[in-house]
Symmetry: C2
Subunit: 301 residues, 2 copies
């Protein structure tokens, strides 16, 4: 079984209170793939420009990441420049150069058409739906979205949501999408739009999973230093779906574990800039932190 | 064993998106006492004015709350008027009439001097220390504080902290008190000031307990409707300390359970205005929600 992701590959320039970096490899599909690849083979669908060379492709090398769907076109790769201030809960975008991403029309290689697990990264909901419709064998399709699409393409986003099983979304965006302030009511409204599983990301406050009437809430791992939150959400989604695919088990018990594995992966990602920490992460470290999450949250009844 | 609380008794006028009330009984010592009284006898030290009559005293009646330390003086009771907007995470104070609270000099009745567990509610740190020094038999002294004292009486607050075992404080105030943004670092700094137990309240995001190198984090109970957050923090503290006293057990295992019982009590308090929900709460409801917290946070390793 393989996990397909469609999303962005980008060059990011990031400044946080802990330092700054220029033109490092980022993008939703990148963070997702690298995180998920610790658990299961991944198939990536994204677009890069001529400036994305062998060195940059190295982030995918030596991992079970199939890059046949990584299309290289004439032009420059998507570039994003942003900064985090104060409590680092929100990125300020300083510059966005869409470049080749502007005309991104995801092409699903023939070898990907049997994908059973799919993550539709945060791209135009019209493209998300287009990808989804090409994957009739998908057993679990999850997607992400953001304020930009909720404000600008709500009818299109709702058509996509009607065709997905799971939505992985930030808390503020769950409220914006539903028009409701209370989280339980907001999620009830989102369930009506389609997704039976809703995963609400709360940044440093953790994650809440709503599925089939169950609610599971886990805090984030308390870190001494968050150096760069970029990609944390996609890294979470990669760990979450990667673990589900590895186990091939969509029970409530396993969904909960998957949320914790996603949280584990995100907690590592933010320890250093960009993909730095994920690229030197080991399975033993993942297991150790999974058990630390248990210690963090466990109480005796 | 008894639990002593010193704090305010007040008349609150509150407006939230769900309604408004005028001159209902509130105050930190009130919420704390009522919540703790579900677990253990409570001794209250506070001041009221001539306008606080038998009807209002009814909130303490029929519960194991010793009101010998509730001093009635000439004048009007402390009054607070506030409102909550939008996500209701923060109260806006519209009016404060200190009245008899302005000259509050807590008097500990002779019968209270053997108190082993103490909660110093959010009052002038000079008064907190004064109370603490009169209770040499105290085994666990916890206190609360707020931005007003951190800004205005930091040296005095630090002298109080040096003499307490536990600090129960809002997340933003933990950051302000320590001058550090990162929560783990902030708490490490607060430990140095005295308290070996630090309980950080995060409102709708739950609570984090730091004690002897352990970290326990629990989310808040997800409610469909938060009608009035007033008193949630003091209600939490009442449940937390009340349970500890009931069990007479300060182990890490029991501290964790106490944090959950505190969270249970706070989750009920916010379901209705003022003390309304707490006053009709039953022990069976508390137990049921405690087990719901287990279901909310449990995952299999």
């Amino acid at each position: 079984m393989a996990l397909l992701v469609v999303g962005s590959v980008a060059f990011d320039s990031i400044r946080t209170p802990h330092g700054q970096v220029e033109n490092i490899v980022g993008g939703s599909a990148t963070y997702f793939s690298v995180a998920a690849s610790f658990f299961t083979p991944v198939r990536i669908v994204a677009v890069i420009g001529e400036d994305f060379d062998e060195k940059q492709l190295g982030v995918f090398a030596g991992r079970p990441i199939d890059t046949r769907g990584l299309e290289r076109v004439v032009g420059r790769t998507f570039r994003w420049r942003g900064q985090y201030l104060g409590d680092m809960n929100e990125a300020q975008t300083l510059e966005t150069q869409l470049n080749v991403f502007e005309r991104f029309a995801p092409k699903i290689p023939a070898g990907y058409l049997d994908s059973e697990f799919v993550f539709l990264g945060n791209i135009d909901p019209v493209l998300q739906l287009h990808v989804r419709e090409q994957l009739p064998q998908a057993r679990l399709v999850a997607c992400d979205s953001m304020n930009f699409w909720i404000k600008g393409k709500l009818p299109e986003l709702k058509r996509t949501l009607a065709r997905v099983d799971a939505l992985v979304i930030n808390e503020g965006e769950a409220r914006m999408l539903s028009g409701l302030q209370n989280l339980k009511k907001a999620v009830a409204e989102i369930h009506k739009m389609g997704p039976r599983i809703v995963v609400v990301k709360r940044g440093e406050y953790g994650v809440v999973l709503f599925s089939d009437g169950n609610v599971f809430s886990t805090p984030a791992y308390p870190l001494e230093e968050v150096r760069d939150p970029t990609g944390a959400g996609d890294t979470f989604a990669g760990g979450f779906l990667g673990y589900l695919v590895q186990r091939n088990d969509l029970s409530e018990t396993n969904l909960r574990r998957a949320v914790v594995y996603g949280s584990v992966m995100a907690s590592f990602a933010v320890e250093d800039f960009g993909l730095t920490r994920l690229l030197r992460l080991t399975p033993a470290e993942i297991e150790r932190r999974f058990h630390e999450f248990k210690h963090l949250t466990h109480f005796e009844v």
